[in-house]
């Protein structure tokens, strides 16, 4: 035990330490980048006193692929496949944000038909992504079976994606001003089946098997408490923010793609089994969000059936060359607010600059703050509860 746990945090000492800071009973444990549960190639340096963690310092950048530099060298539509590779668990949501940004730049308004399909795809992707998030979270805590059950159901969503656009992981689906493919015949029925099965089987099973498990609650409910103030000050977004009790969702706050037409609730952490903003709450928000997404999908499917079918590539520009200007657009990706800042210089067909505001990156920046004075096993629970995807952090 050391004084470090109760020491007030200042920004200078919160990021690094010198070798003299390590006490006689303490040891530096390097967790990752090749570690089974750092969700990719994250490396965390821990100062541990036995099982107790005094300080944790995350190191990122092992998956850096020069995304932003690449974007400057390809044309506007050419960026979309790169955006898919940011958060590779939720590619649909990534390309949506970029498409919205460039559409704003080119002043294109996609048809309601296209927007509705985008909503369905984004919400299906949200369910699929949260399936992985919650499933791997259970696996981090030692429960292997829920993970495979959830992956089984994610598979059905991926099948629909494959059916629509031919890809299962990286879709290149949300094009600027439209979509790469129209939905196939029978798409609505397939989606309805997925939603019905999700509501009837997957969700209750998940809550029974994992979320309601006493050990799971004990492991997560009093761990990694992010207060409302801390969450806001570190700019946590998405389920991480809502887990701390802040009901802020871009789909409600700044609706895009016609989200204002759908009825859905914004689930927030309730502090049911412990202090508000714990790992359990963040995870619980994801679980409830899946259900809300299913609700949105059913409404969007109803809407899609009533809407007049239009050509989904109708408004896709032949050659995207926006006038000089800059734009920032963001969308509620499964992991939080994913923002794209795109600068056009008016002379070239490639962006002058693309900057991504990553929700996982901000979540990781709050990590060291809550990782003080916890145990090694809690570090794993913490990483999982923030649900970071290193592809999006490192870009």
């Amino acid at each position: 035990m050391s004084a470090g746990i109760t020491r007030p945090v200042t920004s200078a000492e919160s990021v690094g330490w010198r070798i003299d800071d390590i006490g006689p009973d303490e040891m530096i444990l390097s967790m990752g980048p090749q570690h089974p549960s750092t969700h990719g190639v994250l490396r965390i340096e821990l100062i541990t006193d036995g099982e107790l963690v005094r300080e944790a310092r995350p190191h990122i950048g092992y998956l850096h692929r020069c995304f932003e530099k690449h974007c400057e060298n390809v044309d506007y539509p050419g960026v979309i496949p790169y955006t898919d590779r940011l958060d590779y668990v939720a590619s649909m949501g990534n390309s949506l944000g970029y498409a919205l940004a460039v559409e704003k730049l080119l002043a294109i308004e996609p048809s309601p038909y296209v927007s509705t399909i985008r909503v369905i795809m984004a919400e299906l992707q949200r369910i699929a992504s949260h399936c992985v998030a919650v499933g791997t979270y259970g696996m981090d805590l030692g429960a292997f079976t829920p993970f495979l059950h959830l992956l089984r159901d994610r598979e059905k969503i991926l099948d629909v994606f494959e059916w629509t656009c031919g890809a299962r992981l990286l879709y290149n689906y949300n094009w600027i001003g439209g979509l790469s493919h129209d939905v196939p015949d029978g798409f609505v029925r397939a989606c309805r089946e997925i939603v019905a099965e999700f509501d009837k089987v997957t969700w209750p099973e998940l809550v029974n098997l994992l979320i309601g498990n006493r050990i799971f609650i004990e492991r997560t409910a009093k761990v990694g408490v992010v207060s409302r103030e801390l969450a806001i000050s570190y700019d946590l977004t998405g389920p991480n923010l809502r887990g701390s009790g802040v009901a802020y969702d871009l789909r409600k706050a700044e609706p895009y793609c016609g989200y204002e037409n759908y009825e859905f609730a914004v689930p927030v952490g309730e502090g049911k089994h412990g202090p508000l903003g714990s790992c359990f709450d963040r995870n619980w928000v994801r679980v409830v969000e899946m259900k809300e997404s299913a609700r949105i999908i059913s409404q969007a499917l109803d809407r899609l059936e009533k809407l007049e079918k239009t050509d989904v590539r109708e408004k896709v520009p032949k050659r995207a060359k926006p006038a000089k200007g800059e734009v920032f657009a963001r969308s509620e990706a499964p992991r939080g607010n994913l923002g794209y800042y795109v600068v056009a210089d008016g002379t070239a067909v490639n962006p002058y600059r693309v900057k991504v505001k990553s929700p996982c990156f901000t979540a990781m920046s709050a990590f060291h703050h809550v990782a003080r004075g916890v145990m090694i096993a809690d570090i794993i629970a913490l990483i999982g509860s923030f649900d970071v995807v290193l592809g999006e952090i490192d870009r």
Binding site: T145, R219, P275
Partner: protein, 397 residues
């Protein structure tokens, strides 16, 4: 060994020509060989069964490719492990690195020596059999610590420290609940303990002093589950935290030895639970004890042990893992008080003499007393829980 000696004396002229020490040595060697064969071939079965059970629970098929229904999969894996190179990282302590898995396997294997498979099929009927199993089980702890230390790897060291703390802690409730059985049987000999339970299902120690021994069984089962490092107590090798715990640096045959030890320990622990509470080799219905004049006690013991092994596997594929402090909490603040309480109550019930007129009034009084104690404990627990919930509510507000 008795059975082997009897077998030897059937050979004409054996008793006259072979000295006693030689025939005992030979019988011992044969018994050891049989146990060793059982132990080394057993895991092939357990691993296959575990994979199939995991597949069943996870909505998939499990091994299907090698042989019919994947039956040969574990054999193929075993052969692969035997032929793989055992990698020695540069910084390991070579001697301890090699000795550690041997010690772990030895510790697991020696438990077999006293398991009674039938009145005669037992390698050695020690007077202190129950004590011996517990004592020899701790030997593997030494091996685990050695493995963790010799690996010269921080994760391995963490795993070793965790396993030492865990096994030492959980041995205490295991022994305490074992004492309950020993008090009832009046002997530490496993043969005598099973003998007391012979004659059918209703004689099993599980039903004695009805709710009490069921609790003792659950305590014993939980504690041995922890001693085997199985989920939810698998923190020494928690793969999501410590990569692979104490055997992070092991590969090839040495890794296979740890694996062997784990599955063997699982079987020994389950067999011990079966012997102590479920009648061991005694059949649930006396008529089923022999088939065609043959004593099928071994089948009963193995069936009971496998049923418990199945529960081990079931738990493993269902539950998340506890944290280190919660693990200690369960051992010291839940299991240990319960088992101490059981010792006191069962001891009290055993020492009250039966009344002269035949009706055990004192037993009934004992029942009443223990029921009252239970009610008291339950209300205390409920009150503690409510208090805790209130604290949490106030903390949130």
């Amino acid at each position: 060994m008795d059975a082997l000696l009897r077998l030897f004396s059937l050979i004409p002229g054996w008793d006259q020509n072979v000295p006693a020490w030689a025939s005992i040595t030979l019988a011992g060697l044969v018994a050891a060989g049989l146990c060793l064969g059982f132990m080394s071939l057993g895991p092939v079965g357990y691993v296959y069964v575990e994979r199939k059970i995991a597949g069943f629970m996870q909505d998939r098929l499990g091994p299907m490719r090698v042989g019919p229904w994947g039956l040969l999969q574990t054999i193929a894996d075993t052969i692969k492990l035997l032929f793989k190179e055992a990698i020695f990282p540069a910084a390991v302590h070579k001697v301890m690195f090699v000795v550690a898995p041997c010690l772990v396997v030895t510790g697991a294997f020696m438990g077999f020596a006293v398991l009674p498979f039938s009145p005669t099929w037992q390698a050695a009927d020690l007077d202190v059999g129950a004590f011996y199993v517990i004592a020899i089980g701790s030997l593997s702890t030494v091996g685990l610590i050695m493995a963790g230390w010799a690996s010269n790897n921080k994760y391995a060291l963490f795993g070793a420290m965790r396993s030492a703390a865990q096994i030492v802690s959980y041995e205490i409730p295991a022994v305490m609940s074992l004492i309950v059985v020993v008090m009832i049987a009046g002997s530490l000999s496993l043969q005598a303990i099973v003998g007391e339970q012979a004659g059918g299902l209703h004689n099993w120690f599980l039903w004695k002093f009805f709710p009490l021994n069921v609790i003792a069984f659950l305590v014993f089962f939980t504690a041995t589950l922890a001693e085997c490092n199985r989920t939810p107590f698998d923190i020494p090798e928690a793969e999501s935290e410590l990569v692979a715990g104490f055997h992070t640096e092991y590969s090839g045959f040495f890794f296979a030895m740890f694996f062997l030890a784990e599955y063997t320990e699982m079987f020994v622990a389950s067999a011990m639970a079966a012997v102590l509470f479920l009648g061991g080799f005694a059949a649930p219905i006396p008529a089923l004890q022999t088939v065609g004049g043959f004593d099928i006690g071994p089948v009963w013991l193995i069936a009971k042990a496998w049923a418990l092994v199945f529960v081990h596997m079931w738990l493993r594929w269902t539950l998340p893992r506890l944290r280190v402090d919660q693990l200690m909490h369960v051992a010291w603040k839940v299991l240990l008080p319960i088992s101490l309480f059981l010792i006191v109550v069962v001891g009290g019930l055993l020492t009250w003499p039966a009344t002269a007129n035949g009706f055990p009034w004192d037993r009934w009084v004992g029942w009443l007393l223990s029921a009252l104690l239970f009610v008291y404990l339950a209300t205390t627990a409920a009150r503690a829980w409510r208090w805790h919930a209130r604290q949490v509510r106030e903390a949130v507000a």
